[in-house]
């Protein structure tokens, strides 16, 4: 009986984990409906100019670390890390970026750039971008180029106001050195 209960609970937990990893579609994502942590968001980006092709992407914020815990990790990555400005604290996020060509002929890489991901605070429907910070993030960093059919996992870092309990991360595929074009996506950085 105990074994059966254990299997039942494990199955239930499995179902719950599976449910939380169900991707949401980009059309349901907005500044007022940002994706929760561990919720993949599926979207598409265009690469090329006159010769445009659409590629599919899935972005997931896997975990976030904030405040002292973030500072500890940043110090481990680089002991010289400066403290954030007064009233601010660091937030680190580990992000998974999946990149797929739609067809066998889609072979352009996507340059993620150094800072395609921006942090913003939500205040009503207005968005205010935080100043970017220059720190060495824990390895691996989410930077560089991705080939179709592969994925990249890495850390990004920003500083947010200590009193901001609901910071949101924004992904715009044509800012910060990224080379695509597509829908701007929003991700929660708090539970």
């Amino acid at each position: 009986m105990k074994n059966r209960m254990t299997i039942f609970i494990m199955a239930l937990l499995g179902l719950m984990v599976a449910a939380s990893l169900q991707p949401v579609m980009a059309q349901d994502n907005s500044p007022t409906n940002p994706a929760a942590i561990n919720t993949p968001v599926r979207s598409m980006i265009e690469l090329g100019s006159v010769y445009t092709n659409i590629y599919d992407i899935t972005i997931t914020v896997l975990e976030t670390v904030r405040g002292n815990a973030a500072m500890d990790r940043l110090k481990a990555a680089s002991p010289d890390v400066k403290a954030p400005e007064s009233g601010f604290e660091y937030v680190l996020a580990r992000i998974k970026f999946d990149f797929k060509g739609r067809y066998v002929s889609d072979n352009l890489p996507f340059a993620l750039g150094d800072e395609p991901l921006q942090w913003v605070a939500l205040s009503g429907s207005d968005l205010t971008e935080y100043a970017r910070v220059s720190v060495t993030v824990p390895k691996p960093a989410l930077v560089g180029r991705i080939k179709p059919g592969s994925s990249m996992e890495g850390w990004v870092a920003f500083a947010v106001r200590q009193k901001d309990s609901k910071p949101v991360m924004v992904f715009d595929p044509d800012t910060g050195g990224a080379t695509g074009r597509g829908k701007t996506l929003f991700f929660k950085l708090s539970q």
């Binding site: 579609m25 980009a26 059309q27 500044p31 598409m44 265009e46 690469l47 090329g48 100019s49 006159v50 010769y51 445009t52 092709n53 659409i54 739609r102 067809y103 066998v104 002929s105 889609d106 072979n107 352009l108 890489p109 429907s125 207005d126 968005l127 205010t128 074009r181 597509g182 829908k183 701007t184």
Partner: protein, 448 residues
């Protein structure tokens, strides 16, 4: 600063980037290829939109403190488009579609719920599934569209339901057929694989002409999708082609005559990495086409080589040849066992007319004028002589490529920019050539 014709574009960009009140100064349009003294007058004169002196406006824009209004930020919000129109008579609805620029100017089939439902039954995809995103040009705002939205346009174009997966494959590429450039782009779509026979496309006599419902309506639908789902095709706003391009009516949609390929010549889709048994659409971009038959003692592959050497249009560094099967057979018989072998021969053995080479290679001209060889010797032969540098080789020292229009170097593209497609009915040794370049391919099977 931007020319006045791009007002709609720059307004969209500023909204897209969250700066709806960006300070913008306009110059008269066009400035490309206009005399320098005229452009100087433009700078000294007024902004055509505000009437204010342009230089004063630029100075004020850069130095005046930002007002509260200037500081406002936000994303562009569009009202959702209604899914259904109120009932009316067919005549009035048709007129409404024309007035709203939903058509290509020709009559359309009204997309009733019943007809759209019939179209949707031709795919296993859900009606609300996103197919793609499309925009008139890279800086423009993108529009997103679903399977059902594509079905509406397929009905309007006169497509049969069995054409729908092919139309969805085109839509899934997100490439507008009416690219907003002042240079009047054209597009081309080539269909390969079993779907060609399944839907009865014309691969024979008159394949490029208005002789077949599938060839016609599939190509036409791409333009309707571009206008109605991709935000393209509003002259003066989201379409700036100075003269326009008649090829946009059906985007040169035709199938490759695979059974007419010489032994060893692969169909286009196989060249692009698909299996022969796959059904595939391949999209091209360019401006113009020539139809050619030149009866001469020269073998046909040499006639083609000579044409490629001297042909010019807006696109000078890429070409697509559409060969009739009998022309392809003649070429193959001259020792070209594959399409790739023939395009390599052409790229290796075409030069560039002097006037074109020197006008597009400023560094080479400078070296020629300084006596640096071999440029100096080439230059001495005059503008009418052929310079022995191919403009179709990639990664070589050919004519400077207009990279704004080209695929990235990372695309794994082949060593030359010449493509070959075979189609036609074998009634004459005709072939066509134009400045079209390969843009990409999509699987029809994934949309069945």
């Amino acid at each position: 600063m931007i020319t006045a014709r791009f007002k709609e574009l720059v307004t969209t960009i500023s909204y897209k980037k969250g700066i709806p009140n960006m300070r913008i100064t306009y110059t008269p349009h066009p400035i490309t290829d206009r005399p320098r003294d005229l452009c100087d007058k433009y700078v000294q004169g007024p902004d055509p939109n505000t009437g204010q002196p342009m230089l004063d406006e630029i100075y004020a824009g850069l130095t005046k403190p930002l007002s509260e209004e200037d500081r406002k930020a936000g994303f562009l919000k569009r009202d959702p488009r209604p899914r259904l129109l109120p009932p009316d008579t067919p005549e009035k609805l048709l007129e409404y579609f024309h007035e709203q620029n939903f058509t290509d100017g020709n009559p359309i089939i009204l997309p009733t719920e019943q007809k759209v439902a019939e179209m949707l039954r031709a795919t296993s995809r859900k009606p609300d599934e996103w197919v793609g995103q499309m925009r008139p040009s890279p800086p423009h705002e993108a529009w997103y569209y679903t399977v059902e939205m594509v079905a509406v346009n397929a009905v309007m174009a006169g497509a049969k339901p069995e054409y729908f997966p092919t139309i969805l494959a085109i839509a899934s590429k997100g490439l507008t057929s009416m690219f907003s450039s002042t240079s009047s782009f054209a597009r081309m779509v080539v269909v390969n694989g079993p779907v060609v026979k399944e839907i009865g496309m014309n691969t024979g006599i008159g394949a490029l002409g208005p002789n077949n419902r599938a060839n016609s309506s599939i190509g036409r639908c791409w333009t309707l999708i571009s206008k109605n789902l991709g935000g393209s095709g509003k002259p003066g706003e989201t379409y700036l082609g100075s003269q326009g391009n008649q090829l946009n009516y059906n985007n040169l949609c035709f199938p490759e005559t695979e059974e007419g390929l010489p032994a060893g010549w692969n169909p286009l889709h196989v060249q692009k990495g698909f299996k022969k048994s796959d059904s595939v659409v391949s999209l091209f971009s360019g401006w113009s086409f020539n139809d050619i038959a030149w009866y001469s003692p020269l073998p046909i592959h040499e006639v083609i080589r000579g044409w490629l050497e001297h042909f010019f249009s807006f696109g000078t560094t890429q070409a697509t040849l559409v060969l009739d099967p009998i022309v392809a057979a003649d070429v193959a018989a001259k020792g070209y066992p594959t399409k790739e072998a023939f395009t390599k021969y052409l790229a290796d053995n075409t030069g560039t007319p002097g006037w074109l080479y020197w006008s597009q290679n400023a560094n080479a001209l400078k070296q020629a004028q300084s006596g640096v060889e071999p440029y100096a010797s080439w230059y001495k032969q005059g503008q009418g002589a052929v310079v022995p540098v191919s403009r179709y080789k990639r990664g070589g020292g050919g004519v400077a490529r207009n990279t704004a229009f080209m695929a990235s170097k990372d695309s794994g593209e082949p060593s030359n920019s010449i493509e070959i497609v075979v189609t036609g009915g074998g009634t004459n040794t005709f072939w066509s050539g134009g400045d079209f370049g390969y843009a990409g391919s999509g699987s029809v099977d994934q949309w069945r």
